[in-house]
């Protein structure tokens, strides 16, 4: 649940999402769910010319499984805390595996 937990802190931040089919979408992250589906508001499709079907789209629900990258604002990531969270997650997983 680390990534879920992590993305939750990015709500209302502007992120850019690159999908596995190379579409890149910038928008305000409104919500994320446990499958890492992402809801973006006020979107802007980079390279829109290639994707005319998205020309009139304003908000978007993106299925988590098709996301390749999420580009985040660095200032909104607490690296130290994230490290700790990762350690906890790892410890947690190890504990469950046992």
């Amino acid at each position: 649940m680390l990534f879920f937990s992590f993305f939750k802190t990015l709500t209302n931040q502007t992120v850019t999402i690159e999908l596995k089919n190379d579409i890149r979408i910038r928008g305000i992250l409104k919500s994320v769910d446990q499958y890492l589906n992402i809801k973006l508001d006020d979107i802007e499709v980079l390279d829109l010319d290639k994707y005319p079907h998205l020309s009139s789209v304003k908000n978007m629900f993106i299925r988590g499984s098709v996301v390749r990258y999420v580009i985040l604002p660095r200032s909104e990531v607490d690296v130290g805390l994230l490290e700790d969270a990762t350690r906890r997650e790892a410890a947690n997983q190890a504990g469950k595996a046992r």
Binding site: T9, V32, D33, H53, S56, I62
Partner: protein, 173 residues
């Protein structure tokens, strides 16, 4: 009578309950210093689809289909029901619309779901023009087979390097 229930605050109201003003002002009023503690139900598929319900959407499927229709129902897997659906096929600089009716889409085939801005939907980008279905369809078939060949090659090379295909061997559009 409905008000009556207002006074029936549960004796043990949820502890994590936020101040009532939250309800009225919404997250917008939250301090901008960082994310407030948001209620867990906000982070559900349901919450994400909630305000797309009964809206006109563009649905892009994993196989590249683009469906335009009104989202009528959904579930936690993002299985979707679309009404008055039109499939719009694109090829080259052309596109064509095919009326399709009601769609029930299995969630795993959904790539993305975009809410159509009703003000802008008729502003078709100048890069594409409408054409008869047959013409577009033929062109698309050609394009698809070309792309498939290219993707196949790419996947072969990537998998030699240890990359698992990003989408279980299927081609995403």
């Amino acid at each position: 009578m409905e008000r009556l229930s207002l006074n029936e605050n549960p004796p043990n109201a949820p502890q994590q309950r936020q101040p009532q003003q939250q309800n009225t002002l919404g997250p917008a009023s939250q301090p901008t210093s960082g994310p407030p503690q948001l209620p867990p139900q906000m982070f559900t598929t349901a919450a994400q689809l909630l305000d797309l319900t009964d809206k006109k959407l563009v649905l892009v499927l994993r196989d590249g289909r683009k469906l335009i229709g009104v989202l009528r129902s959904w579930d936690q897997f993002a299985n979707l029901v679309l009404q008055d659906t039109v499939e719009r096929i694109y090829a080259g600089k052309l596109y064509a619309d095919v009326p399709r009716g009601i769609f029930l889409v299995r969630g795993e085939n959904v790539l993305l779901l975009g809410e159509v801005d009703l003000d802008r939907e008729d502003e078709i980008p100048t890069s594409v023009t409408k054409a008869p279905f047959e013409e577009v369809f033929e062109l698309k078939k050609k394009e698809d087979s070309q792309r498939k060949a290219g993707d196949k090659k790419r996947h072969r090379e990537l998998s030699a390097l240890g990359f698992e295909p990003e989408h279980s061997g299927e081609i995403l559009f």
